[in-house]
């Protein structure tokens, strides 16, 4: 009996300790904020993969105008700080040019969409360069053989070159995706209620600076660490044997 009661007592006491240490979390929607981060990341990832692939196609195209555009885009966009781009989407596109992203009456939705747009514009430059390095790993003979059976430029690219290029850049793409996940924090600059904005708010209101930072750092690691591990595994799985 004594043993069993002795086993019971620590339970409530631990719960009490947990309550005291983590009471700063009370009243904040931590999961909700990280969910916005995840949404920002996923939508931007899909968008920049599409736009980045198109940019890469332009950069290897035989049309000089397209090559020129692709090169100029990448060199301009990747050299501008993301904060400037995100602020431009809000101050420039939205407030000056009146771009509402289909949400004129809902400020939150509008800012969220502008942030996704800014992240896509920025990240696609890096996706493009990662893909282009992948295209360079595909032997010239692959494209020549594809042209020799009568495939058009677009078919050569989409059926033969890009499928092999993408397989060889899964690792570097993980880098881009991890960077993107962390870059979503910049969306806080235009008031998107993602994790970094909540952290700022909590640091202002609560006393546990280090604990709050640690909790958020842990949250981001939870998002990015599996990304790297899974993509590393996928990269090995889909690698093209030559």
């Amino acid at each position: 009996m004594r043993r069993s009661s002795g086993r019971h007592t620590p339970g409530p006491r631990h719960a009490e300790a947990r309550e005291i240490v983590f009471d700063f979390l009370e009243g904040y929607d931590l999961l909700g904020a990280f969910w916005v981060t995840v949404q920002l990341t996923l939508l931007s990832a899909v968008g920049s993969l599409v736009w980045g692939t198109m940019l890469a196609a332009m950069r290897v195209s035989p049309v000089p105008l397209m090559r020129g555009f692709g090169t100029a885009y990448v060199n301009i966009v990747r050299n501008i700080p993301l904060t400037v781009i995100i602020l431009f989407t809000s101050l420039g596109l939205s407030q000056t040019l009146g771009v509402t992203m289909g949400a004129a009456d809902n400020f939150d939705t509008q800012n969220f969409r502008l942030a996704v747009l800014g992240l896509i514009l920025y990240t696609s430059a890096f996706v493009c360069e990662a893909l282009r390095s992948g295209i360079n790993t595909v032997p010239v003979g692959q494209a020549e053989a594809a042209r020799a059976i009568g495939l058009s430029f677009t078919q050569v690219l989409t059926l033969v070159v890009l499928p092999q290029a993408i397989r060889s850049v899964v690792g570097p793409m993980a880098n881009v995706l991890i960077a993107l996940t962390k870059n979503t924090t910049v969306a806080a600059a235009i008031g998107v209620t993602e994790a970094a904005l909540l952290m700022k708010k909590m640091i202002e209101n609560e006393a546990q600076l280090i604990l709050i930072s640690a909790v958020f750092a842990f949250g981001y690691v939870c998002l990015t660490l599996p990304t790297g591990l899974i993509m590393g595994w996928v990269g090995k799985k889909v690698a093209v044997k030559r």
């Binding site: 035989p62 003979g141 692959q142 020549e144 053989a145 020799a148 058009s152 078919q155 044997k241 030559r242």
Partner: protein, 258 residues
């Protein structure tokens, strides 16, 4: 009336299939093709030989415009070679090409390699394309490897798949750019046998090779190139036993006497 048309179909159309007229090409300062005139008639097997750097591969690649030319005309089946775009792609579909390094699509299985052009270029039905691909793979003797990836095959097998891939487009002419140069000696014959068989079946072929045995047995004509020029053209027997030019004599003495 009917008899006449049947007779017409049975006899392969004769005439010039590939015509090159005063073709010139430079690689920087190197004048790699110098005033090349060459006519290949339908059903003919032409073997191009010559020392390294003589321009034979460039000539072969120029015929389906994998290399552009600086001046001159190339026409295939009466039509001049288009500059770029859809017309060029259509023409390339009619010209089969086999490369020294096989160049099978590394991310696709052997069967998919042979089906791709049929489906995407010829717009063939998937089932029809697969049947044809399997038949062609059987013909070149690699039917059992259909579901493997190129990297799992030997060089000789890969090159035979590459031949099947080119044949799947029903080409008017086949170009072979040193098809056996990257192969182990023991695998050369299996590829040459497939090519011999093609030649016997009446395929028009332009073959750049160092295989003198193949040139002797399968060629209708040997074209000897050196320093960007066609130095000599002759039937194989005459060329190998009694070459006219000193350059050809010198070349043959180096490769035949050891």
């Amino acid at each position: 009336m009917t008899e006449v048309s049947v007779a017409k179909d049975d006899v392969p159309a004769t005439g010039d299939l590939v015509v090159l007229k005063s073709v010139n090409k430079h690689f920087g300062a190197l004048h790699v093709l110098q005033d090349i005139d060459l006519t290949i008639t339908r059903g003919e097997v032409v073997v191009v030989i010559g020392p390294s750097g003589s321009g034979k591969s460039t000539l072969c690649r120029a015929i389906n415009r994998l290399e552009t030319i600086d001046s001159g005309d190339i026409s295939i089946d009466g039509k001049p070679l288009p500059q770029e775009g859809k017309a060029l792609a259509r023409l390339r579909a009619d010209v089969g090409m086999v490369f020294q390094s096989f160049n099978l699509f590394a991310h696709k299985t052997v069967l998919e390699n042979v089906m791709l052009g049929q489906i995407k270029v010829r717009k063939a039905d998937k089932k029809v394309a697969e049947d044809k691909a399997r038949a062609l793979l059987d013909r070149v003797g690699v039917a059992t490897q259909a579901d493997k990836y190129p990297a799992q095959l030997s060089g000789g097998q890969q090159q035979r798949v590459a031949i099947a891939r080119a044949l799947a487009m029903d080409p008017k002419v086949m170009l072979f750019d040193e098809p056996t140069s990257a192969l182990d000696p023991e695998m050369i014959n299996e590829v040459l046998e497939v090519m011999q068989q093609l030649a016997r079946e009446g395929m028009t072929m332009i073959v750049v090779t160092h295989e003198m045995g193949f040139a002797r047995s399968a060629a209708n004509r040997v074209v000897f190139m050196a320093d960007g020029r066609i130095v000599e053209e002759a039937v194989p027997d005459q060329f190998f036993s009694n070459p006219r030019s000193d350059r050809a004599k010198d070349f043959l003495s180096k490769i035949l006497h050891h």
